[in-house]
Amino acid sequence: MFLCLFLLATSVSLRAQTIDDGIMIPRHTLFTGNMFSYDSWNHYWEGHLDRVNGNLGTVTTETDSWYANYGITNRLDFITQIPYVWTNASQGVLSGMQGYQDITMALKYNFLERPFTKRGTLRAFAVVSGSIPLTNYEPSFQPLSIGNQSKTISLRPTLNFQSHWGWFVNGSSSYTWRSVVALDQPYYYTNGQLYLTNMVTMPEVFNYIASAGYLKRGKMAYFSFSQQRTQGGGDIRRQDMPFISNRINFSKIGVNLMYPLPIPGLRNLAAQFIYGYVADGRNIGQSTTYTTALLYTVRFPGSPTR
């Protein structure tokens, strides 16, 4: 469940490429590639209590994703991502897990774009996205499960100001609804109650991200700050294991860099590096995440930049 949160947190970084930013991929253009992230923590918050756990040591989550963003029109993009996840604990007896996690698919619509002051352009976006587990991975072996087996649907508005000189500010928030999860065990205890059912209601999640930086001619650099607030769920109790419906909150800072690689004959290849750090949280690991990506732009007939 940590993982899930991490993945939610991680996904913020991954998606920062396009789901929550002010960038649109033009019509008939495909922006695709591989992203690899390495997330680890040895401190975590048990409720609000910051602690270490000798039976876990450092928990590592590695995620290798195929990512694609396709411009259906200049105003409408389709984005998808398929992650394969490995988990591991450096100490203790618990086995790591691995497998394909949840496919994410999103439609991003740029419904407003107009000059704002003499300095730049104001854009507004609406994103609807959903995710579905790709495999029947085990959801209740937290914190080493690779996900939480919940289908999700999110709505996300974004407002972006891009100046003519390249600097920009961006604000985006999302609200996520999550489907009920069926556990393998017939009952569970969470949030002060024993539930005599295997069905877990997953609380909704609110998230926002604010970012500012530079973007021009494929070169990008920015700082971000994001927060997540889960709209329900219980805390991890003292010395208890995490549970998938825990109230997972966090504040995270991030740095995102992208640079077109100057490789002759591969003009369309860009490298990306993302750093994320959970500065404060509740029922989540105090993780550091490093993500690298190689992304290639393919322009099909009809692409305006072909």
Partner: protein, 750 residues
């Protein structure tokens, strides 16, 4: 004279009696009136706890109690209706669910201190971290068993007094009080709900002291629900609560000295366990946690059991596991590793299903969870439901003791200690491996549950097998731990099973306490009178329910037959656990007779039936001999009851001067006696002894008393309501014949 007109009689039995009274099958739950004589476990007998006689139902104090219930029922809040709903499925089932939650809430190991040590929870300071208790599997098994056994013991005492005093429920005494939870005619004093809550409040406050507020609220809610639902008056509840607390005190004293306090041991004792294993040439178990955690309750094997002696524990202890240096142990370890490396998703799901680690009701709770729907759906009386939980949980506790004895006797390392490259997919328990706790619990639970619910035996056994192998799939047990544990648990469960087989609950023996199994069909009290109808309760009698199609009645129904020596008893109906018979007229003059019941499977059971020439008993609408009587306005099918008070029946209050007809049993010898099994032909089968009708205790001579024409074994008494008769919605009516007085039912007189 048409007072006993056939038409009106038939109408009554078609409209009401056929669904409610003896000539058709009595399908209501058996109230187990003999439970007061079932074998005790800790108490010496029901009279060890004195319960004083209640005030009469006509006592002004009791009448005031009824008025208070009536007032409360008129203004039920949502919370009160919820409380009634919460407890309508039976108190033992609900307390068991609450106990599962209490265990899960307390099933958390202490966290390590900064210096690598662990602080043990303290009963003297339960709210301090780590909170008391850590409800680990042995602690949980013991807790479940104390609550279940004490509730069962206290309910047996309650049943003894219920049928000694026979005070009806308020809704039976006063028809203006609604029965919001059906009482099935169970006597109300002392209240079973109050008994259960009295036991639970006292014991749970000791077992789970941090939850005392929740426990007390729950206990209060159960008593409130009993009162508001018309089941129990305040005096029924007060007597029940006192009884429950008194029994709980006896169990609390036992718990204080049962050895749990010494089960944690000391560092020196833990070291001695390891030294003992080394002296035997074995690798000793060590904690695999970081920092290493002291072993879980290493001396729980010396805690007092319910059904076993300390010698039994030693005798049932399995032989040693393979030596830690043996090739067999290497193979066992390799199998664990191979299983994990080739684990299927289905196997992982099984391991997860049975993980029952931190924050769970623990494996004993898992078996309570499995048993609960069987108990809830069996339509047991409360005392029999309590018996089921008690038998299960006593067996689980004894399994915990037996398994912990074995674990610390051999002190065997877990597979991961033998090969640290093994990584588990569920938490690794912090105690020795051999033999498996899950497997031992499951073997014991299956032995008991398969006896109680034979139809579920295949399922219970499959669950037990799955629970056992789940520990191999999880990577935390050798196969031999699981195989040995299942067999160990089955042997341990056998001790409780043998107790259950002879405790009086499943046997048709007739006890001195009046808990006879051959009961008259009208009010379910023994003895019974020749010529009348009796319900015989006997489990496993038939596979299905069969009802006689015609008169004269048959002497066998689908293989089921009952006979007194060479005299067959005519059968009205035969069901899986009950047969309704006519006591043959030929037995007149005897004080008892031996009844042989032959089941559909050919099995024979023999028991003694007490007989009496007169055993008057009046049919009632609730089929249990209390509340509104099966009394009609003569020559009509109209019940002499408050208008609209009985669904599906025409009712009106009897007026002064009306003739009424009382349907009943046990009025003794008759003129023009029909053959056994044959119906009375007409109104000439009148009683030889005079019969009088008691209205609120005042005697009125019967105008007619004799067999009801056209029926087998049923009498009817016709009487004219005198001008000086008491009036009301629930005037008490009883019969007196041959010096014996019947049960009291009620009728409405205006």
């Amino acid at each position: 004279m048409t007072m006993f007109g056939k038409r009106s009689y038939r109408f009554v039995f078609a409209a009401i009696a056929c669904a409610t009274a003896a000539p058709c099958m009595v399908t209501a739950a058996n109230n187990d009136p003999g439970a007061g004589s079932w074998q005790m476990i800790v108490l010496s007998g029901p009279t060890q706890i004195p319960v004083p006689a209640p005030a009469s139902v006509t006592d002004p104090g009791y009448q005031a109690e009824l008025a208070s219930i009536q007032t409360a029922q008129a203004h039920l809040t949502t919370a009160q209706n919820n409380a009634i709903s919460n407890w309508s499925g039976g108190g033992t089932v609900r307390w068991n669910q609450i106990l599962l939650e209490l265990v899960a809430s307390a099933d958390l190991p202490p966290e390590p201190n900064a210096d690598g040590t662990y602080t043990f929870p303290s009963a003297a300071n339960p709210f301090a971290f780590p909170q008391f208790p850590f409800a680990n599997p042995p602690y949980a098994a013991r807790s479940y068993s104390y609550v279940a056994a004490a509730q069962y013991e206290a309910l047996k005492v309650a049943w003894y007094y219920k049928y000694l005093y026979n005070r009806p429920a308020p809704s039976s005494v006063d028809s203006s009080i609604q029965a919001l939870i059906p009482t099935n005619g169970l006597p109300a004093y002392p209240s079973e709900d109050a008994v259960e809550s009295g036991v639970a409040a006292a014991l749970l406050a000791i077992l789970f002291p941090t939850q005392v507020n929740l426990i007390n609220q729950t206990a209060a809610e159960q008593q409130e629900a009993a009162l508001l639902s018309g089941k129990a008056a305040p005096s029924d509840i007060a007597a029940g609560f006192a009884l429950g607390q008194a029994v709980a005190a006896i169990f609390a004293a036992r718990a204080g000295t049962d050895g749990l306090k010494a089960a944690t041991g000391t560092a020196a004792q833990w070291a001695a366990l390891a030294a003992g294993a080394i002296a035997n040439g074995q690798i000793p178990w060590i904690s695999r946690e970081t920092p290493p955690r002291p072993p879980m309750l290493p001396f729980f094997g010396q805690v007092k059991t319910w059904m076993m002696t300390p010698a039994d524990i030693v005798n049932e202890r399995p032989g040693p596991p393979p030596s830690t240096s043996s090739a067999q142990m290497a193979q066992e370890t390799a199998l664990v590793k191979y299983t994990l490396e080739n684990l299927t998703r289905a196997q992982l799901a099984i391991a997860t299903k049975w993980a029952d680690g931190a924050s769970s009701p623990t494996p004993p709770g898992h078996w309570n969870f499995i048993a609960e729907p069987y108990i809830a759906n069996a339509h047991f009386s409360e005392v029999r439901a309590a018996r089921a939980f008690a038998l299960l949980d006593m067996a689980l506790h004894d399994a915990a003791v037996a398994c912990w004895d074995t674990k610390y006797f051999y002190f065997t390392p877990r597979p991961e200690q033998m090969d640290p490259s093994i990584k588990t997919v569920i938490g690794l328990p912090n105690f020795p491996s051999y033999d498996s706790g899950h497997s031992t619990f499951s073997g014991a639970a299956t032995a008991v549950l398969s006896y109680l619910f034979p139809n579920g035996a295949t399922y219970f056994n499959a669950e037990a097998q799955e629970a056992a192998i789940s520990r191999l799939y999880g990577g935390i047990h050798y196969q031999i731990d699981n195989d040995t544990g299942l067999a160990h648990g089955t042997r341990v469960g056998g001790y409780t099973l043998r107790f259950a087989q002879q405790d009086g609950a499943d046997q048709p023996t007739v006890s001195a306490a009046g808990g006879g199994q051959a009961l008259d069909g009208a009010s379910f009290h023994s003895p019974v009178a020749p010529g009348s109808i009796a319900a015989v309760f006997q489990s496993g009698l038939a596979a299905t329910t069969n009802v006689a199609a015609a008169v004269p009645l048959p002497t066998a129904l689908n293989g089921v037959s009952l006979s007194f020596g060479s005299i067959p008893a005519p059968l009205f109906a035969a069901a899986p656990n009950q047969a309704n018979i006519q006591i043959p007229w030929e037995l007149q003059g005897l004080s008892s007779a031996v009844l042989t019941a032959t089941g559909a499977d050919g099995s024979n059971t023999t028991f003694s039936v007490p007989l009496s020439a007169f055993a008057p008993a009046i049919f009632s609408v609730n089929q249990q001999g209390t509340g509104q009587g099966l009394v009609t306005i003569a020559n009509t099918g109209t019940l002499a009851a408050l208008p609209g008070s009985i669904g599906g029946a025409t009712t009106r209050a009897a007026a002064k001067g009306d003739f009424i007809t009382v349907y009943c049993l046990g009025l003794g010898a008759v003129n023009n006696q029909p053959p056994t099994g044959a119906p009375a032909p007409d109104g000439t089968s009148t009683t030889i002894s005079p019969v009088s009708v008691l209205l609120n205790g005042a005697s009125v001579p019967a105008a007619y008393a004799g067999l009801a024409p056209g029926s087998v074994g049923v009498y009817q008494v016709n009487v004219q309501i005198p001008d000086n008769a008491p009036t009301g919605n629930a005037v008490a009516l009883a019969l007196s014949a041959g010096g014996a007085t019947s049960n009291a039912v009620t009728i409405a007189i205006q």
